[in-house]
Amino acid sequence: MLFNSFAFLVFCPLVTIVYFLLAHKFRWAWLLLASCVFYMFFIPQYIVILFVTITIDYWAGIKIAESEGRKRKTYLLISIISTILVLAIFKYANFLNNNVVALAQLLHWNYPVKALNIILPIGLSFHTFQSLSYVVEVYRGKHPAERNFGIYSLYVMFYPQLVAGPIERPQNILYQFYEKHKFNYKDVTSGMKLMAWGFFKKLVIADRLAAIINPVYDHPGHYSGATLVFVTLLFAQQIYCDFSGYSDIAIGIARVMGFRLMKNFDTPYFSKTISEFWTRWHISLSTWFRDYVYIPLGGNRVVKWRWYYNLMITFVLSGLWHGAAWTFVIWGGLNGLYLVIEAGTKRWRKKASDIIGLSKFPKFEGYLQNFVTVLLISFAWIFFRANTLSDAALIISKIFSADIFNLQFSSFIDSYSLVLCIGFILLLEFAQAYHKRFNLATYVAEKPSYFRFVMYALFVALILNFGIFSSKGFIYFQF
């Protein structure tokens, strides 16, 4: 079920109202039932896969807690392997097979294995990672094994974050399912405001941008380098609004019911370095990779070459997590490379800044760093968005070609829509940039009720009038 669908418009209030009406002891069961319905709106039979992974990880969690010594590791491995196996079959088998087929063709081998005719279960990468974080935390002794199968199932399936995160840790969410959440007016209203903000980002900005970006990225050969640069910068905004919009809605829904989900985005395009960007973009995934891949590999407390290696491995895996295609692997690798270069040139850059006197103007230096960071991140998005590797290569070659100054608009109306998009993006950026100094939500909340009513109504009217209500899926659902 999509958040931006009619079904959800009925589903969400119904689930929330019944949730508050029910006695506390029945609430988890109701939420679990609702989460199953939510998931089954996509491909119903895939709930069996989810059930199998939940059962294995639940069992493994208990066994890890009850065992000692090497047995604990064995149970952990059983859990990890089985979870990864599901991911491998549904997400990576065809990718691997396609590569073997290509290699076989190159070497004139006879390789008759055909691609599997399967569809990726929605949100598979998200809930498998959430499951993995549970068994690892139990293994590390940071969280006790969950004994209630229903509650554990709800931990994996909690519908606001089931298909696109935030990827939660057991320490943050499991205990909340045992807490009695009373109807809290403040939580409900702040949750609803967050949802409205998320819908604004998704329906008004991201989906409108999609209509401009998709035709260009589907036929990059038809467009000039300047158009491709411009559209790539727009894509950076689209993916941010799409994904952070989803996260806002998810966090908002949970908050209405009294649950606290972790923050997933923190104005990432205001970062001054790539490393800062990755602490503010998709925080739940970045911290997952930090805690379960990067640090176990040794993190930065190793020799330099090993540190760089750890960074590269982590980001290549992160790319692969996003999608089973070389474009995602290169996207991840490129971000890893940025971080390696950033780490390796830190001292030189500081020196250079001092020599040319840039460090005397810290504000200007900050803007410049931010500008470069956004450009680098946007360049990497080319691989993320391009349909194929050859498309990505074509886009890059066009960007660095002579027609870089030839900006094309296919028709008046596209530029009209574009102007609107840019206006909304500026509004968003303004709201985010001045969030700390001037919080619009707090400002409105302090005004008399008639003023607040009109402001909220205007915002809702803006979403309704300018939103695109064709139930477009969220970009991150494909992962």
Binding site: F6, L458, N465
Partner: protein, 346 residues
């Protein structure tokens, strides 16, 4: 606290509606013409307006008109023995999924807004439908639903003989669309889409060839599809055998009023209005239509639903595209029957 929250939400929704209603009347309604909601409606309407001198007869209805009535063939069949002054030049304004009350709305709008003149209009008589579910959140879902059509539709639908679940579904569909309208949901984008479609200047195969498009021959019917065709035959056979009993059933007064309305409008404009009833796929649809069909004089209707010796070829697999439509071969047979029936009542 709950009461306070509910009141606040209700208050905000009322203010949103109050903001949106004037915007719609002052802006969107002026910018968007009656044919804006569907690409095929737009291109067929534009084609018809551009070539209005070429046509004096209009077929109007759903895909059962669009894919089944071949105007060039129809014209040649009915014109072979008529004098030059009485020649028929027909255009097929069939639009996929367009049933009453949408088709009635479109018919009235064409007459009122585009000053088109027809000698004859052959209007498909079909069961009440809000439009396809897939169109619900698109521009298609909005355009025909105005205050009057909403009232007509709701009262007709509530009075209909639909199974309860179908009634509830239609009720939710049409009311969701009404809410979308009240709140101008996605309206700006509709405006953008309308202008984009205008820019496309696409008068492709749907609009040319007198508005007719033949469906290809179905290669192979799956067991499920075969069963659906068998169900259609059964429904038609039941309808053929039970016409008198079903026609004596409860008349849907509101739906009938809508039918009378289009008859009145046609009469005032000097248009010969003929209703055309194609085969349906469910008995309740016939039960809905037959009491209305009975009120229409024989010389103002063409009925094509019967599963008898004559019409059997229309239900043969080789002439069908799916359970609801004939293919190109079937369309020639269907058009032939329509022409034959038309000649009798001309």
């Amino acid at each position: 606290m709950v009461k306070k929250l509910v009141l606040k939400i209700a208050g905000i929704l009322i203010i949103v509606a109050l903001i949106n209603v004037p915007i719609r009347y002052l802006f969107y309604n002026k910018q968007l013409p009656y044919y804006w909601g569907n690409h095929f409606t737009l291109i067929k309407r534009n084609y018809l307006v551009d070539h209005k001198a070429n046509f004096n007869t209009l077929f109007l209805g759903s895909s059962k008109t669009h894919y089944q009535v071949e105007p060039v063939l129809f014209d040649s069949l009915v014109n072979s023995s008529s004098p030059d002054t009485n020649k028929i030049h027909s255009y097929n304004f069939g639009i996929d999924g367009m049933m009453p009350p949408e088709s009635f709305y479109l018919y009235k709008s064409i007459l009122e807004n585009d000053s088109l003149k027809f000698k004859t209009v052959i209007l498909e008589l079909n069961f009440l439908q809000t439009g396809e579910t897939k169109n619900m959140f698109t521009w298609r879902g909005y355009y025909w639903l105005h205050r009057d059509t909403y009232q007509d539709y709701m009262s007709s639908m509530l009075e209909s003989q639909y199974p309860l679940i179908q009634k509830a579904w239609n009720f939710s569909l049409v009311n969701t669309m009404a809410v979308e309208k009240v709140y101008n949901m996605g309206m700006f984008n509709e405006l953008v889409e309308f202008h984009r479609e205008q820019f496309m200047d696409d008068t492709g195969k749907e609009a040319t060839n007198h508005g007719f498009l033949a469906l290809p021959r179905h290669k192979e019917f799956s067991p499920v599809e075969r069963q659906k065709v068998i169900d259609v035959r059964k429904a038609s056979l039941d309808a053929t055998n039970n016409y008198d009993a079903w026609a004596a059933g409860k008349l849907n007064e509101n739906f009938n009023d809508c039918v009378k309305d289009v008859i009145d409008i046609s009469r005032k404009r000097g248009i010969r209005l003929i209703f055309l009833l194609p085969a349906e796929w469910n008995s309740y649809q016939y039960k809905e239509i037959f009491p209305i069909l009975k009120t229409i004089p024989d010389h103002d209707k063409i009925v094509m639903y019967q599963y008898d010796e004559k019409f059997k070829p229309l239900f043969e697999f080789e002439n069908m595209f799916d359970n609801s439509h004939v293919n190109g071969y079937g369309a020639r047979i269907y058009t032939g029957y329509v022409a034959e029936a038309f000649e009798k009542i001309r």
